[in-house]
Subunit: 385 residues, 2 copies
Amino acid sequence: MDSRTGLPVVGMVGGGQLARMTHQAAIPLGQSLRVLVTATDDSAALVAGDVRIGDHNDLEALRAFAKGVDVLTFDHEHVPNQHVRALAEVGVTVRPGAGALICAQDKGVMRERLTGLGLPAPRWAAVSSVAEIEKFAAASAAGWPVVAKAVRGGYDGKGVWMLADPAEAAELIAAGVDLIVEDKVTLRRELAAVVARSPFGQVAAYPVVETVQRDGICVEVLAPAPDLSDEAAVAAQQLAIRVASALDVVGVLAVELFDTPEGLLINELAMRPHNSAHWTIEGTRTSQFEQHLRAVLDYPLGDTSLTAPAICMANVLGGEPGGMGLDERLHHLFAADPGAKVHLYGKAVRPARKIGHVTVMGENMAEARKRAVRAAEWLHKAKHK
Amino acid sequence: MDSRTGLPVVGMVGGGQLARMTHQAAIPLGQSLRVLVTATDDSAALVAGDVRIGDHNDLEALRAFAKGVDVLTFDHEHVPNQHVRALAEVGVTVRPGAGALICAQDKGVMRERLTGLGLPAPRWAAVSSVAEIEKFAAASAAGWPVVAKAVRGGYDGKGVWMLADPAEAAELIAAGVDLIVEDKVTLRRELAAVVARSPFGQVAAYPVVETVQRDGICVEVLAPAPDLSDEAAVAAQQLAIRVASALDVVGVLAVELFDTPEGLLINELAMRPHNSAHWTIEGTRTSQFEQHLRAVLDYPLGDTSLTAPAICMANVLGGEPGGMGLDERLHHLFAADPGAKVHLYGKAVRPARKIGHVTVMGENMAEARKRAVRAAEWLHKAKHK
């Protein structure tokens, strides 16, 4: 409890851009988000007022961080699940809890839970040998290639492999990674259904979006998803609500979906604010970051209505060094498009690393998308120190 | 220059709610606002990452704070003008500069400058004796009462007196306050025209608003001002643009206006983000806080379009201790109105002190106003620790 305001203290483990933007949303709620970072120049550490340094893999560091915190939540999935359990056992309020979080940490457990709930997903199997992968491919209508995914630790296309044949399967098995395999689905596009759920059980659903990927990285988000029927949109929202309720998720849940000729299939889950909903900062009345805080604080959730007919978010990816500096680029971008909303994360640049995003609210998607992509391209080309 | 991002560093003198909300707006711009506060529990100190403690009346403290800062700006008008000049003389970029700022610090200088520019204001005079006040009243069509204002240091109705007769004038003169007197105007209502101006000379104007005062304190802001003709709104914006340009203001300028049968008269100026534009955080595409930063950084200014047809901001004033706690009140408020946007400043409560505000975006002003006032009333009644 914050003795000054009488408001509960929220601690977020992780100091990336999600914590940075959560802190931004915490300010109006009267909160001073406490963040556990690994270094003082982490994205959130640069802007938060209550910064603690520690290793999220170290239970003692987590316990020390949790002291004086009323609710503990996460900017990433990397806290070992047994630590999350151990914190709860000593009385720390952890949201989402370990039982939910495991489904965002372990793709095998996630597939098993969702299959048990009868929720739609690509055909899948846990595998530990080439023979098992060959058996999986043989039983598939699609046959090879087969999609292999590392059970733990993948992100932005890392930890996903397209196995062309048994030789490639053998190579991956030899690397000793825990794996599941999945049918390669016929993909029309990817969608995301983002919801937030409170401990009380209230769920607020955001409009369903289309996520545009390049090289496994989300580059654009189109909100609401173009050419999606109301029925399909509601079905996707209901699917996400069902996942959130069945897994007892608290906070934001992003359900990444494959839109296929056979209908919607669940690809991945994330239980934290998610890239596919950054557009909600300006694009809806309650951002996903505020919503996450409201959910973990068990406040009633906020209005998710749109503030414009069509919204596009484009990620700013780090480019090669050289050329015009970021400050100069911002001048040009703001002159070119006074309505583009820029978010920079204060991160050191590596090629293809997400260093920011731009959101544009438009009258129609063609216009919004053109402007957002152009703005992100401007900043991508920037030279960063 | 921030060595990590290559972006200029902005330092803001003052740690109140304006700095707090400016920091919130700084985060997406890749900035880590540096704030000079008087105490670690100042509103902005609770949430900013780069907090320095020092007295804004002390030139040495200001100089130390300005080291490594690319642009210095202000959350209040209390830095002595000669200190602002002294900082500029040693090469600190100060925005707004001393020559502009003096008009927000000294009502005598402000009236003199605006009169010199031929801008509309109540009839006024600088006075230092009862005889001068009597002479002013005698020359007035309105006669007594006469409005007296402290030249320096007034805010929220403090430093303004309604002098009924020469006896009251004598009492005030005896107190030794530097004064101007003004005609008491026939007031239909109060308006505010808020603009931002960059060093390049670009000006962005916000929609003109009506400000509702109670006991000299702004309690509600209605945006855009109801029943204001397009011609009158444009005239008010042009007036504010003219003031900004003539005084060489950089950053946000709020021009408080009296709407009278004789037309618009300038009441006060503020050269920083202002209470009359807090509604812009959600109510326009670019908040006054982002706009102030863009202006002092000499970035092109952002889109000021509305995000809803009618917007009302209501200030949350501190109430008497006792009753339901703030956290519980927030639960009830969020349940009652999922679209109300709450801003709490983390400030200790004193009766009638501004401790936060609520903004509601509505389809019409009657609805928005009803909701905003109800929400602020909920929080006002809260017991605060």
